[in-house]
């Protein structure tokens, strides 16, 4: 609405300022793809805006048609941004920011001072249609809308979700089949393409820059960061409002023109302190506040479900393409032989050998610090291992975690491997990253089978959530849920990824006895109805006794007992190191 009214009431100069704001907003939205979604800070985005602008003028000014100039600006800036992103494969956080700072300074000092780059003598030929102020303004608004659409699409693709995992749980992202490196570079490419479009808008407005490189200087890079912070990382509408606030307001309000930067700076500080999550945070809260009182919060606990029906439906989750077929003859689904893991001077696993047979639920018990989680890390590729771990007869050592997830291995982490800031549903989709194999760009454009692949992932997520009685919480933010529920979501997510072998670390932690019993029923359903093989690290003895077919007990990285749960829990060594007095008490439960 406002967008349409503005050209009627505003005069030419104001519209021109607004076109500039649109370019700045586009650059900020592009920067936010890195900041909000990938967790990477760039201080070179004004320089990238310059790359886009100068590319457009160079192409358009040398007789290239205007659409080609726009496309060239997008493509060249995307390429430059991708190269700028290469260091992020090795370094993180502030170090990346410093590298981008160096790139910004280099661009300013060496690139933007060259007449052949800035093309001082050239003028972009823009289409006659865009000569007038109003059409030019509408064109810039359309570009902003396009960028918002792209960002929205990104959010519903495997790449967009993979970026969240890279941002929040990078070290563990491999467990979902997320390849951190290519995923990060894609964010840089997309961010560059968006900023390049901003540069093209700016070039279309100015037609020539000459020596006027102010919009591409370091200060402008910092201002873009400020816009993202004030707008709220991840919030498109917040960032657009912040662009108007920071870029337009000082130019159109007379009072601000006079007192200038000081007032803007004070406003900036006040707005950040008053609302640390930015304008986006305020916008997000509005619907929640409106809902208040009218709607009851759903119970944050898993619901009881008709297990037979739910697990019959969920059996479908096993139908996934599998590269690794079982190689015969095989002693067991998982065979660990003389596995050793050493962290510094500490021997976390010492010559451990054990087997997990197909279709069994195997319990892994032992004192805290006995090496149970380390064994999971060894199997899923997160620990330096000696010895041999064979899965379906194939040696797993030296295979990256991503590869292992495609083999049908899924795991949970003792202290959560999921993204707490996202909803339950997004997390369950994230865990299935390896199942959808389309490239990021195709996903954003909705090409080929990407939409149907996404639909399939959503259907699978629904089945898994239903099985664990979590579907009523699908839209809740994971981090808002109680600990025990979060852990159950993680198990559901692992099941949704369609594994053959499920490794569950402290499966029932945070659950009360009633809920852990319900969890046990689900384990049996996973084994009997879905045909899964489970290894569970567990401290809750009644659960082990109820569901486990076989049981191993570790102490100080070594195996001290194995056998049926009853055999193991009656051994003196197990009572001494793991059970204690509870041996008599809890077994009754």
């Amino acid at each position: 609405m406002a967008v349409v009214v503005v050209p009627v009431v505003a005069d030419g100069p104001t519209l021109s300022i607004l076109v500039g704001t649109a370019a700045v907003a586009i650059a900020a939205l592009g920067l936010d793809v890195l900041v909000g979604r990938a967790g990477q800070l760039s201080l070179a985005h004004a320089a990238l805006l310059g790359v886009g602008g100068f590319t457009a003028v160079n192409v358009g000014g040398r007789g290239g048609p205007w659409p080609l100039a726009v496309v060239a600006a997008v493509v060249v800036t995307a390429a430059v941004s991708t190269v700028a992103g290469l260091p992020s494969l090795r370094i993180r956080g502030l170090q990346v920011a410093v590298v981008t700072l160096a790139l910004q300074v280099m661009a300013e000092r060496f690139l933007f001072v060259r007449p052949d780059v800035t093309a001082g003598s050239l003028t972009l030929e823009r289409p006659a249609l865009l000569e007038a102020d109003v059409p030019l303004y509408l064109f810039s608004v359309a570009c902003v809308a396009l960028v918002l659409l792209v960002r929205r699409r990104l959010g519903s693709t495997r790449t967009g979700r993979a970026l969240l995992a890279v941002r929040d749980v990078e070290a563990r992202a491999g467990a979902f089949g997320v390849e951190a490196g290519p995923t990060k570079l894609f964010a840089y490419t997309l961010s560059g393409a968006i900023v390049g479009l901003g540069g093209a808008v700016l070039a279309t407005k100015a037609t020539a820059f000459g020596t006027a490189i102010d919009p591409f200087r370091l200060l402008q890079s910092l201002l873009l960061v400020a816009i993202v912070v004030v707008g709220g990382a991840g919030s498109g509408s917040g960032i657009i409002l912040a662009s108007l606030f920071i870029h337009t307001l000082p130019q159109v309000v007379d009072a601000l023109k006079r007192s200038g930067p000081l007032v803007s700076a004070v406003l900036l500080v006040v707005s950040i302190v008053a609302q640390p999550e930015g304008i986006g945070g305020v916008l997000r809260d509005i619907p929640r506040r409106l809902r208040r009182g009218r709607e009851q919060r759903p119970s944050p606990r898993p619901r009881l479900v008709e297990l037979a029906a739910a697990s019959e439906a969920a059996a479908d989750l096993r139908r996934v393409p599998r590269k690794l077929a079982l190689q015969m003859p095989v002693r067991a689904l998982l065979e660990a032989r003389e596995v050793g893991v050493r962290y510094g001077g500490v021997l976390a696993l010492d010559d451990l050998s054990l087997e997990v047979r197909r279709g069994e639920i195997v319990g892994l018990i032992g004192a805290n610090g006995a090496g149970k989680s380390t064994f999971f890390n060894a199997v899923s590729g997160f620990a330096p291992v000696t010895g041999s771990i064979r899965y379906k007869g194939a040696e797993l050592l030296n295979r990256p975690p991503v590869r292992r997830s495609t083999y049908g291995l899924a795991r949970t982490f003792q202290d959560m491997g999921l993204v707490r800031a996202e909803t339950v549903r997004e997390n369950v989709l994230l865990a299935q990253t390896w199942l959808a194999r389309y490239p990021g760009a195709a996903g954003i454009l909705g090409l080929g089978g990407t939409m149907s692949q996404e639909r399939e992932l959503r259907r699978r997520a629904g089945l898994a959530l239903e099985l664990f009685g979590l579907e009523h919480l699908a839209s809740e933010r994971l981090g808002d849920l109680p600990y025990g529920t979060m852990r159950t979501v993680e198990i559901a997510a692992a099941v949704a990824s369609g594994p053959d072998l499920l490794l569950l670390d402290e499966a029932s932690a945070g659950l009360g006895p009633d809920e852990s019993q319900a969890l046990g029923e689900r384990f049996l359903a996973l084994r009997d109805e879905l045909g899964l093989t489970l290894v569970v690290i567990e401290h809750h003895v009644p659960l082990i006794a109820r569901v486990c077919d076989y049981c191993y007990c570790l102490e100080s990285g070594r195996l001290i007992a194995e056998g049926s749960p009853a055999e193991v829990t009656s051994q003196a060594s197990v009572i001494a190191s793991f059970l204690g007095r509870a041996a008599s008490q809890e077994a009754v439960l």
């Binding site: 809260d285 929640r288 506040r289 809902r291 208040r292 919060r297 119970s299 944050p300 606990r301 009881l304 962290y343 500490v346 018990i365 032992g366 004192a367 805290n368 610090g369 006995a370 003792q414 202290d415 808002d480 849920l481 109680p482 600990y483 025990g484 529920t485 402290e506 932690a509 945070g510 659950l511 009360g512 006895p513 009633d514 809920e515 019993q517 319900a518 029923e521 401290h539 003895v541 190191s577 793991f578 059970l579 204690g580 007095r581 509870a582 041996a583 008490q585 809890e586 439960l589």
Partner: protein
């Protein structure tokens, strides 16, 4: 008659627009161990956050030794003699055991008091003395939980609040940690509020409350605590399906 050490009356709280606690009331007398039982999502952690000023109190009152402390910031509560063992242990993984303990005594000004707090911690938790130079992140889960309790005791609190000490601990380690808390209660006279879903916590409680959907639904005192333990076990078994 002197007021209870901690008294919570009519507490309502929640996250933003979501109300989680409804009119929660309970008290901890001097020298008592009180258990606040509840299953996953009952509002246990929320109660602790509201008491310790980490969450906005919508209505109701929290008093410590008769003084109104509703909504006071956590650092002030530490000075007033409260200490919290947070859920998930809240360990500074890159600091050593000794450095973590030192942080627990951050508000203690007198260096002699700090020294004696260290002595006390190392006597009560010999394993921590052995590992004082080890990084906290390399401790096992049980040892980290002990460190979390020891760290909370460093400020020589009158009231210790413990959030799910048994989480992720082996049965024997759960007993050990509960035993240590009982020892601290008996020997140092510190009053304890145990927030738990493990019914074994009731072994050391003088009084207990059950929280369900953000409301107190059951109270027991003295010998009745044992009966409550049985009741909870039964309830869990009956509904578990």
């Amino acid at each position: 008659m002197s007021p209870p050490l901690l008294e919570v009356s009519g507490l309502c709280s929640g996250y933003g627009p979501l109300q989680v606690l409804f009119d929660v009331s309970f008290r901890v007398e001097r020298g008592e161990v009180v258990a606040l039982m509840g299953s996953n999502g009952a509002g246990k952690t929320t109660t602790l956050r509201a008491i310790t000023g980490q969450l906005k109190v919508l209505s109701g009152r929290v008093t410590l030794d008769g003084t109104d402390i509703t909504g006071r910031p956590p650092e002030e509560l530490v000075s007033r003699g409260m200490a919290l063992v947070p859920e998930g242990r809240g360990m500074l993984r890159d600091l050593t055991v000794a450095q973590n303990l030192e942080l627990g005594a951050y508000r203690v000004r007198d260096p002699r008091a700090v020294a004696s707090a260290f002595d006390r911690a190392y006597t009560t938790f010999p394993i921590l003395a052995e590992r004082r130079q080890q990084r906290a992140g390399t401790l096992s889960g049980g040892q980290q939980q002990m460190l979390a309790v020891a760290r909370a005791l460093m400020s020589d609190p009158r009231l210790l609040l413990v959030d799910e000490a048994s989480l992720g601990l082996s049965p024997i380690m759960t007993e050990t940690v509960f035993d240590l808390i009982a020892t601290a209660n008996r020997s140092a006279g510190v009053s304890v509020l145990l927030v738990e879903q493990n019914v074994l916590a009731l072994d050391l409680a003088n009084r207990a409350y059950v929280l369900e959907k953000g409301q107190v639904v059951d109270v027991a005192e003295g010998d009745a605590v044992k009966t409550m333990q049985g009741r909870l076990r039964e309830a869990y078994l009956g509904r578990g399906r």
